[in-house]
Amino acid sequence: MRVGVFICHCGRNIASVVDVHWLKNEAAKLKNVVFCEDYIYLCSEPGQKFICEKIKELNLTHIIVAACTPSLHGETFSRTLESAGLNRYLLEIANIREQCSWVHQNTPKIATKKALKLIEAALAKLTYAKPLTPLRVPMIRKALVIGGGIAGIQAALDIANGGFEVYLVEKEPSLGGHMAQLSETFPTLDCSSCILTPKMVEVAHHKNIHLFTYAEVKNIEGTVGNFEVTILKKPRYVWEDKCTGCNDCVDVCPVIVPNEFDQGLGARKAIYIPFPQAVPLVYTIDLENCLNSKKLIVCENCFKACGPRAIDFLMEEEEVKIKVGAIIVATGYDLIPLEALPEYGGGRYQDVITSLDLERLLSPSGPTGGVIRRPSDGKIPKSIVFIQCAGSRDPEHGRPYCSKICCMYTAKHALLYKHAVPEGKVYIFYIDIRAAGKRYEEFVQRIVEEERVLYLRGKVSKVFRKNEKLVVLGVDTLTGRTVEIETDMVVVAPAIISNNGGKALAQILKTPIDEFGFFTEIHPKLRPVESPAIGIYLAGAAQSPKDISESVAQASAAASKVLALFSQKRIALEPIKAEVDVKLCKGCGICVKTCPFGAIKIIKKKKKKYAQVSKAVCQGCGSCMGACKFRAINVAHFTLKQLFSQVDALLEG
């Protein structure tokens, strides 16, 4: 064993705290170390070349790099080893930046000693390291996209156009998501459904896309390249292949209920499509409101009216099992409910509405045909007060983050309202105007300057009713005065929150979410579309609040990641997998219960029971290794022997 130790200065990040020259001299004295040198930037091209040359020149067999965290440059140095002809698993990284120089800036002497300890520990672990070769398993080159909003649609189309099959799962009866609810989009004022509908139709007709609407993902097993997915198709009580979308059933249906798609401002029947451009154009019976139930069929009006006999009250939910190699999560967002904003009259006054409600009122296909009307009496409001940051940037509501899109859509709403009601008055309460985006600032400026809209910098404390009107009490922090505005309607910009079902889905996917329920990425800057669970990618507002253009960009990025993965027929997996020592194993089965991935089975051979690990499913988490009473399971590259000697080295002296 001939070990080379390379110590990185990381510019001044390490060298300004740790005495690298002393460290070099001390590390050179360690057992088996034949070479030790420091270098200003080991991650640079010349730095890597230096390591490479020294390996060849001195015939080094094992390498220790004392530098930054392995999650940043582990891959870089592993490649360096490979280019010098060494096995990439004969590398150990001692993290003397994050775990040493950065956290012990005020105690350089102790930091230097700790750096040496970290190198000693790395050496102890490296002593028992074994060369490993990656596993290569066949990959299923099909993708699953969860969520049929704009992000899911874009991702599905990109992958399908790349020549691979896609399963797109949407929980609502139609594709479209929140974008289908919008009237016009900022800053170009494109009609939202005009630009979205062609894409929805393309998805429905694409030969590579299998569309599941009114369906949910129930279970996912396996790992990148080999996921097994169970999809639950909820019963529509209308056969998709028979329904022609003729609308005859709707005319005879005797039940009228509020339409969720219209935010309850419009109505629908118990048999319905959520909106006229729905894809697929297939009706759905909402059995909760229908006169019929599972046990008793009272009304057969739709059944009798249906020419193609598409209605079937006996339809059951159905499970479909599919296999895919990669998954894109595009489950979108929800809004904080109005009831959670009582200070703004949310939930108490009908004329306090959300921005999404206003989108439905502005939409030509909405309940009012695009005329803005008050929900209470249907009158056209003569004035509107907009309240931004309703719930967001507000730790009181548990939402300290910015919802990102509200500044822009509020400006758009003010513009659309002023065009519809030129003599109407608009007041906007804001904290800051955040208009970072291509042509966003120009759009807001245009509205501030040309549309006679009054922007008031400050927060609203209270909204209450006075006869037929609402009174908004707030403060204008630029003049320092309190303001009291009588208005016909209040529109709040509610905080964007994570999708209701996101948490359950995260559990099914075994992928992390942050404290607000948004899906987490591996690295916020450099790997923003990849989930820490390999083979699972993120798109759109499921990750954080985003506008349409960002969602589309991220969806395409996620799709390109999937296409890159699918460019090969087999997939290389890290060989860091659990291995069972058959001699020590008693077949007790504790590891089977501990394994979060279902990778371990107990098998019986020659009258002896023992555990067997499926290498393709094992993620190398080490849970089984910790649980095994007989020390019969070891995870390669992190064996008990390696870890114990590493800890011993740290505790010595």
Binding site: P254, P258, G264, V298, N301, G346, Q350, G378
Partner: protein, 93 residues
């Protein structure tokens, strides 16, 4: 405002079928099946007796126009004593 509590603004656009309930009092034997199963619950038992001495169904007062022409009363009546007649020019929700 919770969605369910909102009053839709376009109700006038939605039409539902309307029926006129016709009851042959003298055929009724007071089994109350129609009252039990009417999905809109617009029927109740009369105070009067018919010739055979039974209470028969009558429309609740104020709900004369509420029949939605589902015809389930006609379906469940063992004595062909009740049916509904479609009213043309359907009513609003």
């Amino acid at each position: 405002m919770a969605l369910a509590q909102r009053k839709p603004l376009n109700l006038e656009k939605f039409k539902i079928p309307r029926g006129r309930v016709i009851i042959f009092e003298e055929l009724c034997k007071g089994c109350e099946l129609c009252i039990e199963y009417c999905p809109k619950q617009i029927l109740e038992l009369s105070e009067d007796y018919n010739e055979r001495g039974y209470h028969y169904p009558v429309l609740k007062s104020g709900m004369e126009d509420e029949c939605i022409y589902c015809l389930f009363c006609q379906e469940v009546c063992p004595d062909f004593a009740i049916f509904s007649e479609k009213v043309e020019g359907e009513g609003h929700g």
